[in-house]
């Protein structure tokens, strides 16, 4: 069994704008089951970071516990990382983000880590519009403990264990919309054409960017009767649009047919271009998104794509009015200005 990846790379793949090769964004060889959807999502993260020419030290990857939360080891080996407690990734991210607002925060979680033990943390991070990308690698089961149905397993779905799930599923994208998350997308690990631009857009979004990525568990939940298997998702997938992410300094070179496309400009000047747009779908209108999600669910379809974006999003730092300079760069002198200053402040309240 291989445990070290060969150091060679394809000679026609050139370094990106900041001088890194794609392999510089990779991690060590995955120890997840062969064929796990999570590895594809890791691959999409690698691809996205290479393509946007991210400097690896400008990103922190954080995770909780679970198969999904192991994945940060398998991508971006040159970035910062924190593998935290089960369901507590949002708290750690909040702390890190408060201390250093200059990094991109990429939180990776699973359906157990988010929809069960971490639910309380998850909803509050949304409520505060914490500036982070929150990816749920959603396989509908607890793979690390032999594949029991998770809280996102659809009603009636039958995994390898063989019994239909008697409980209603938590739709994380629906919940995020309900809580007014400022960026909500859903995708599928087997569709990198959609997932890669969505990750890029999420990284540009100032605020909480939530990506619910269906990611089949090949070992426990890839049966024909499971609603989270490769074949079921492929047969029932429905996209709101196809997505293009256009970085700030780049020109749009593709001709998009009118009427079927929309463009959303992000805070940093980059653009998301949506084409082959479903009729009457407006990605900046939360109500259509909620309705569409319900409609699709009632038809047994899985609605994917960028579901909602609030271009006016104001993140937690903005809401709290923190200083422009990241807190971790303040020296003791700045933070403890001394007794004379304290006296002055106290006097102001008298």
């Amino acid at each position: 069994m291989s445990y070290i990846k060969p150091a060679f790379h394809h000679p026609s793949l050139k370094p990106n704008k900041v001088g890194y090769l794609k392999k510089d964004y990779r991690g060590v060889i995955s120890t997840l089951c062969a064929g796990c959807g999570h590895d594809s999502i890791s691959g999409a993260i690698v691809q996205a970071c290479y393509e946007i020419s991210l400097e690896p030290h400008k990103l922190a990857k954080l995770s909780g516990i679970g198969c999904s939360s192991k994945t940060p080891t398998y991508f971006l080996s040159n970035s910062h990382g924190f593998n935290s407690v089960h369901g507590r990734m949002p708290s750690i991210t909040t702390g890190a983000n408060m201390a250093n607002k200059d990094l991109i925060y990429l939180g990776v979680s699973g359906d157990g880590d988010t929809a069960s033990i971490g639910m309380g943390q998850f909803v509050h991070a949304i409520r505060r519009n914490l500036n982070m990308v929150y990816i749920v690698m959603n396989n509908g089961c607890y793979g690390l403990t032999k594949g029991q149905d998770s809280a996102t397993a659809d009603f009636g779905s039958i995994s390898k264990e063989g019994n239909a799930n008697p409980y209603q599923a938590i739709d994380l994208a629906g919940l995020a919309l309900e809580l007014n998350a400022t960026f909500v997308g859903r995708s599928f690990s087997g569709d990198k054409n959609q997932l890669v631009p969505m990750i890029k857009a999420a990284m540009s979004h100032p605020g909480f960017a939530f990506l619910d990525v269906i990611s089949p568990c090949v070992t426990f939940n890839n049966t024909k009767t499971s609603t989270k298997s490769y074949s079921h998702v492929r047969d029932h997938i429905e996209a709101t649009s196809t997505l293009d992410y256009v970085p700030f300094e780049e020109e749009i070179t593709v001709d998009y047919p009118e009427g079927e496309s929309a463009e959303v400009e992000l805070f940093d000047g980059s653009k998301i271009h949506l084409s082959k747009l479903a009729p009457d779908f407006n990605p900046t209108d939360r109500f259509t998104a909620v309705n569409r999600l319900h409609e699709a669910k009632s038809k047994g379809q899985i609605l994917t794509g960028l579901l909602y974006i609030n271009p006016e999003s104001k993140d937690l730092h903005n809401l709290m009015g923190t200083s422009d300079k990241p807190l971790n760069q303040f020296k003791q002198k700045d933070l403890c200005p001394g007794s004379t200053k304290l006296e002055e402040i106290n006097r102001a309240f008298r």
Partner: protein
């Protein structure tokens, strides 16, 4: 694109770049693995079956395999395939009992081989075990041909050559040494069932510029000079020597001169350095022995003083190339250069020579006096006369002569059996899974990052004093192992089964060289631009699956696949498997 037909024996053969490039199609990765396992005897036998002279070739081969080696496309230098072959030859155990054992049951057919070089010896080896009575004619007192007369002993020790020549002669070959064949008619009159001409390219080109006739005593033809030294007819040369020419013979001449009295030895080449025909390593080895090489200097005149050669005058030129790459040498206008010399050796090329073949026998010759031959069967216009080696299509090298010998032997065998020589048996191929466990393979699939190891040389203070002392010391066991581990095992093929694939992308994500893509089908030129990494090397194929359930196809660019097996390790359904492909070229005796 249409799905790749992996049943075509040439598809996977082409993926094994080294084997494909080898004229004799030696299964290179197979023997390199054996060397890593220190199974030298088996490694030697794989070579012997395919290229007949592993000890000789492990020292002197032109190495067409190395520029083809995949390793050279992912890092700086290819695997030292040639020198690994020598490791097998140097360390092998007893091999004779593994070779065909005579006496063979005779089939009553008699074959004459004219010339005792690599091509003829290969024919002898392939046909003798089948019961043919082989008669080998050579003008020298020993077999080996140009391997003996043109390759100096400091590159190829005589005992190595003798050993490998004798393996063949000991199969009951009737040798007619010291016999210069001066009439083809005489041979044909002896009623052989077939005649094979392997007389090489024995005529060195002269250089007829002013002063040639007067200076003749000290102006020598390269291959004649080397032969004279090899047979000890010449033991010294003057202190100042000029070698004219930029090929491997020139390199052998200058290094030989350095060992038999040449103190100031200079090689002068009329063309630029990059156009020199000599192998880069042979040029390097000459320079290591303090031999100066001057380029862009065509000789103008042999300067004679008092009836004796005094030196050579050279002009100065620069090379210019037109849009077709055709070179012309333009004089620079600089003044001529005179270089002093006691002896001049001309090594500017060699030609076939067939003055001994009478023109009325039905053997036709074409342009440049080259015989008219069928390119596959090596049959001449006289049906029972075959040609091979340098005698066939002009000067090449030992490994090409061996390849010709194998094919000519197939033709001769079919011909003598009264069968069509165009109906040739297929190559032997075999494709077997290397899976031993879930993630275990029979081959070592870790990719070593080591750079190419250099072969150590004996100190020149010693080697320059003894023309028979071998310069290269060869790899020892440890270096041999490490160099062998650089091999990417390209014969272990990535084999894809479309109906097992669930399109999970695991192989795409893990592939360290981004070779694999799942995408919509299209024309090849278009597909090459929209893969995970653009497939710019058009000489390498794209492996295309059948249509998958999502209507896409799997495409794999064979160019820089490391054969690391990670795609197969990460495949949940074993749609990818690593299978070893063995390809043995058709031979008369296998």
């Amino acid at each position: 694109m249409k799905p790749t037909d992996t049943k075509d024996p040439e598809y996977f053969h082409k993926v094994v770049d080294c084997q494909y490039a080898c004229p004799a199609h030696t299964p290179v990765p197979e023997y390199i693995r054996l060397i890593a396992q220190q199974r030298y005897t088996e490694a030697y036998m794989i070579n012997w079956e395919s290229n007949v002279f592993p000890g000789v070739l492990g020292r002197t081969c032109d190495r067409p395999c190395e520029p083809a080696c995949r390793r050279g496309r992912v890092e700086e230098e290819p695997v030292a395939i040639c020198r690994l072959k020598r490791v097998a030859a140097d360390n092998k155990g007893e091999v004779k009992h593994l070779m065909p054992q005579g006496p063979f049951e005779m089939n009553g057919k008699k074959i004459a081989l004219i010339g005792g070089g690599p091509a003829s010896l290969t024919v002898a080896r392939d046909l003798a075990p089948l019961g043919y009575e082989i008669h080998l004619y050579d003008e020298w007192n020993k077999g080996g041909g140009m391997m003996r007369t043109q390759i100096p002993a400091f590159r190829l020790p005589e005992q190595v050559l003798d050993e490998e020549v004798n393996y063949i002669l000991d199969m009951g070959v009737h040798t007619h040494f010291n016999t210069f064949v001066d009439s083809m008619k005489g041979i044909l009159d002896k009623k052989y069932d077939a005649v094979f001409v392997g007389t090489g390219a024995p005529k060195g080109r002269p250089l007829r510029i002013p002063g040639y006739e007067e200076g003749k005593d000290n102006i020598h033809i390269g291959i004649e000079f080397l032969a004279a030294v090899a047979f000890e007819h010449r033991e010294t040369v003057g202190g100042k020597v000029i070698v004219l020419g930029g090929g491997n013979t020139a390199m052998d001449c200058c290094r030989t001169s350095k060992r038999i009295g040449g103190e100031e030895v200079t090689v002068v080449v009329r063309s630029p350095r990059k156009d020199m025909k000599a192998s880069s390593w042979e040029i390097k080895d000459a320079e290591l022995e303090d031999i100066a090489i001057f380029n862009n200097m065509p000789p103008k005149e042999f300067v004679i003083e008092n009836g004796k050669l005094k030196g050579v005058t050279f002009g100065k030129v620069r090379a210019e190339y037109d849009e077709n790459g055709k070179r012309s040498l333009i004089p620079t206008g600089e003044s001529d250069v005179f270089i002093e010399a006691d002896d001049v050796i001309i090594a500017i090329g060699q030609d076939n020579a067939f003055p001994w073949i009478e023109k009325d026998l039905g053997i036709e010759f074409g342009k440049w006096e080259i015989p008219v031959l069928d390119k596959t069967t090596f049959q001449s216009t006289l049906s029972h006369v075959f040609f091979g080696g340098d005698a066939a299509f002009g000067p090449e090298n030992v490994i090409t002569a061996v390849a010709h010998g194998h094919q000519a032997a197939v033709s001769i065998d079919l011909f003598c059996k009264g069968e069509s020589i165009h109906d040739r048996p297929d190559p032997m191929t075999n494709l077997v899974s290397q899976k031993m466990g879930i993630h275990e393979w029979t081959y070592d699939n870790d990719i070593a990052a080591d750079l190419r190891y250099q072969v150590a040389h004996a100190d020149k203070s010693v080697t320059l004093k003894d023309r028979k002392m071998e310069v290269e010391l060869g790899f020892d066991h440890i270096e041999g192992f490490k160099e062998a581990q650089r091999c990417l095992n390209c014969d272990v093929q990535t084999v894809f089964t479309t109906n097992l694939c669930i399109e999970c992308d695991a192989c795409v994500d893990i592939c360290p060289t981004d070779c694999i893509t799942f995408t919509d089908n299209g024309e090849e030129a278009d597909l090459r631009t929209r893969l995970s990494a653009p497939a710019e090397n058009l000489s390498q194929d794209l492996y295309v699956s059948e249509i998958l359930p999502t209507q896409r196809v799997m495409l794999k660019d064979e160019d820089v696949c490391l054969h690391c097996g990670l795609c197969a390790e990460r495949c949940p359904t074993a749609a990818w498997d690593m299978k070893k492909y063995l390809y043995n070229v058709t031979k008369a005796y296998q």
